[in-house]
Amino acid sequence: MGQQILNAIFIGSIYALFAVGYTLVFGVLDILNLAHSAVFTLAAAVTYTLVVNHGQSFWVACALGIVIAALMGLVIEYLCLRPLRRRRAPPIAALISTIGLALIIVAAIEQGRPGTLFSWLWVDGANPVTMPPGTFPNPTWNVAGLTLEGAKLAVIPISIVLMLILGYVMRFTQVGRGLRAVAENPRAARLMGIDVDRMISLTLVISSALGGLAGILFGVALGDISPYIGRDSVEVRGLAVIVLGGMGSIPGAVLGGYVLGAIEVLAVVLLGSNVRAGVAFAALFLMLVLRPQGLFGAQLRERL
């Protein structure tokens, strides 16, 4: 049972990190960035390729992976979102353009094989791979019948620290105030001299960096890196988390992540795997019907 609790905390941290990025974009832009899970996948894939195919050290590769994820945030803004805003397109178009970008990213990784166009990015095609043992420190202790893995445990403080930093930034720095102003009322923010476009770019950068980091931690600690980890593991669960926690609420996303992790592991232990995801989505549906603002969201304002 103790081991299952550890499992829940670990996966909950991943969900939380991923969802924070999701909810940040939603909070500031009122858009669901469906390329977020692709960035999750990309960061993990890039880190792996850098270590295995380009001979970088693990830490350098991780750092680069996060940087690339952050840059993808800019790509999302400049390629998918800004052109639509400029053309005054309906907001659902943004959904589609991020879907398009996600498609490109995942397909590019999927097609990465030796000798093909994308072999600089990835050479394992559709195959799932693992970080070779020894590339990163992963001490394992067996204590009181529990297996404690360094890599998995490290995810917890990393996530918490990042969330605290983000919270601090949002609350106490000028940048954070700017972001919150844009989230609250962009027209007013613009009138107050805030460069809204820049705030939006910043939002995407932070969100994507967090999503990418979640991907790297997931891929490394779970030993599973493939073009499909985003789609299979976090894409839809991320939605469940931000709904549970309240859309636009960062602490909500964090709590929601751990709640979902706990629900899932509990469902597996008590009911078996078949219901694992089903339970999560039933909970999601009920939450929306009964308390749409989630645990922490503000009262649903009518957005017109």
């Binding site: 996966i11 999927e110 095609g125 559709a126 799932p128 599973d224 597996v268 232990v269 078996g272 795997s273």
Partner: protein, 398 residues
């Protein structure tokens, strides 16, 4: 000096011309010279099955090249078109239908996954096109592809040793070696291959006095298998049975070892490729499975196959490559004897189908013949992972 050189060049030219035109034998009665035999392969190059598909493809291409270079099938060149089904049933069915109806391929090979075969084989049967399965090992593939209907599918064949034979052989062999008392089964319940394997394990263990403590089911797309492995390890079994494919076996083995479990892994066909052994690494060392083929087997055509494959692709072949290679050879042999007209496609397909039933050739899998149910009966190799991306032989069961 110059005269000698001239003569030797002349001799070489004459010899080359003579060798090229006869294609290794006299002119056979039904000459297909100038014609093309079109074959289509629907394989999983991407997706979960993408761990196996490329191997099948490479084996097939090697066979096609060899046959074509040696003059083709009675003078006809083989043209093999390989298409990816992304491990998706619907895409598999669409690709197959395109190949059958639009490309007008004479016969099909594949698909890679048992999951897809459920969609594709009945389609091929419906459209009266011979299809040879080269890696599907689940149940109800042959002859009852339309299960639960019992009428046999006349156009469906397979050269891949079924799990119904392989898994019991593997369990029996390990039981004789180590007499395990307890086991836990981990099965991906939404994958036909894994689920079939699981059923076979459950049906077999009692015979060897292995008590199956738990059957733990999970879904194949889940990345985080730790809750399931935790449950398995907590039961403290002697054996953990893993009937999954793709990236799952390696993950389970690594996680179980991390959680301190030191018992034996027994698996199915999903173990039998280098990628799985490599990914499992040290955690997979000693994991056993039954394979339809082994690198060092002593069948006549195997050594040539292995060295030709290494020369062409730079790495060792595996079971899937061997089955793909054999698949092409089987169809080529049938085509040779089928008296194809190349003008009546439905008629040719029926002739090919009939000729396939009487195939009897040497392949890297050993001497090959179909059983009366279009299935395979052959030597079974019990192999175990060596912890380094390869396999070593444990037993040979004839």
């Amino acid at each position: 000096m110059r005269r000698v050189r001239l003569v030797s060049i002349l001799v070489a030219v004459v010899v080359a011309a003579a060798c090229g035109s006869t294609g290794g034998g006299g002119t056979p009665a039904n000459s297909y010279s100038g014609k093309t035999i079109k074959l289509g392969a629907v394989l999983s190059i991407t997706g979960a099955g993408g761990v196996y598909g490329p191997q099948s493809r490479d084996g097939m291409n090697l066979a096609v090249d060899e046959i074509n270079k040696a003059g083709g099938v009675n003078g006809a060149q083989i043209h093999l078109d390989v298409k990816d089904d992304a491990s998706l049933q619907s895409q598999s069915a669409q690709v197959a239908q395109t190949m059958i109806q639009s490309d007008q391929d004479l016969a099909l090979l594949g698909p890679t996954l048992s999951n897809s075969a459920v969609a594709v084989h009945p389609l091929a049967e419906n459209l009266k096109t011979p299809i040879l399965a080269v890696s599907t090992t689940g149940i109800h593939i042959v002859p009852d592809c339309n299960f639960p209907k019992t009428d046999p599918c006349r156009f469906v064949f397979r050269d891949s040793l079924g799990e119904e034979t392989a898994i019991p052989d593997n369990i029996k062999s390990y039981a004789a070696d180590a007499h395990p008392a307890t086991g836990v089964l981990l099965v991906a319940q939404d994958d036909k291959f894994s689920s079939d394997g699981g059923k076979i394990v459950q049906a077999t263990v009692a015979t060897y006095n292995i008590n199956l403590l738990k059957v733990i089911k999970f879904n194949k797309a889940e990345a985080d298998l730790s809750p399931y492995v935790t449950q398995a390890v907590a039961a403290k079994p002697d054996v953990i049975f893993i009937t999954s494919l793709g990236g799952i076996p390696a993950k389970i083995m690594i996680e179980a070892r991390k959680q301190g479990w030191a018992g034996q892994f027994l698996g199915g066909n999903g173990f039998n490729t280098a990628t799985v052994s490599k990914n499992a690494g040290a955690a997979g060392q000693g994991a056993r499975s039954a394979s339809a083929w082994y690198l060092g087997n002593s069948f006549p055509s195997n050594a040539d196959f292995v060295s030709a494959f290494k020369t062409a692709y730079g790495h060792d072949p595996d079971q899937f490559a061997a089955q793909g290679y054999a698949g092409i050879k089987i169809i080529a042999d049938a085509a040779k004897r089928a008296n194809l007209t190349f003008s009546d496609l439905p008629g040719d397909r029926e002739k090919l189908r009939a000729a396939m039933e009487t195939v009897n050739i040497q392949t890297p899998l050993g001497p090959f013949q179909f059983t009366s149910t279009h299935d395979v009966k052959q030597t079974v190799w019990i192999i175990k992972m060596d912890g380094n991306g390869g396999f070593t032989l444990v037993h040979q069961i004839t």
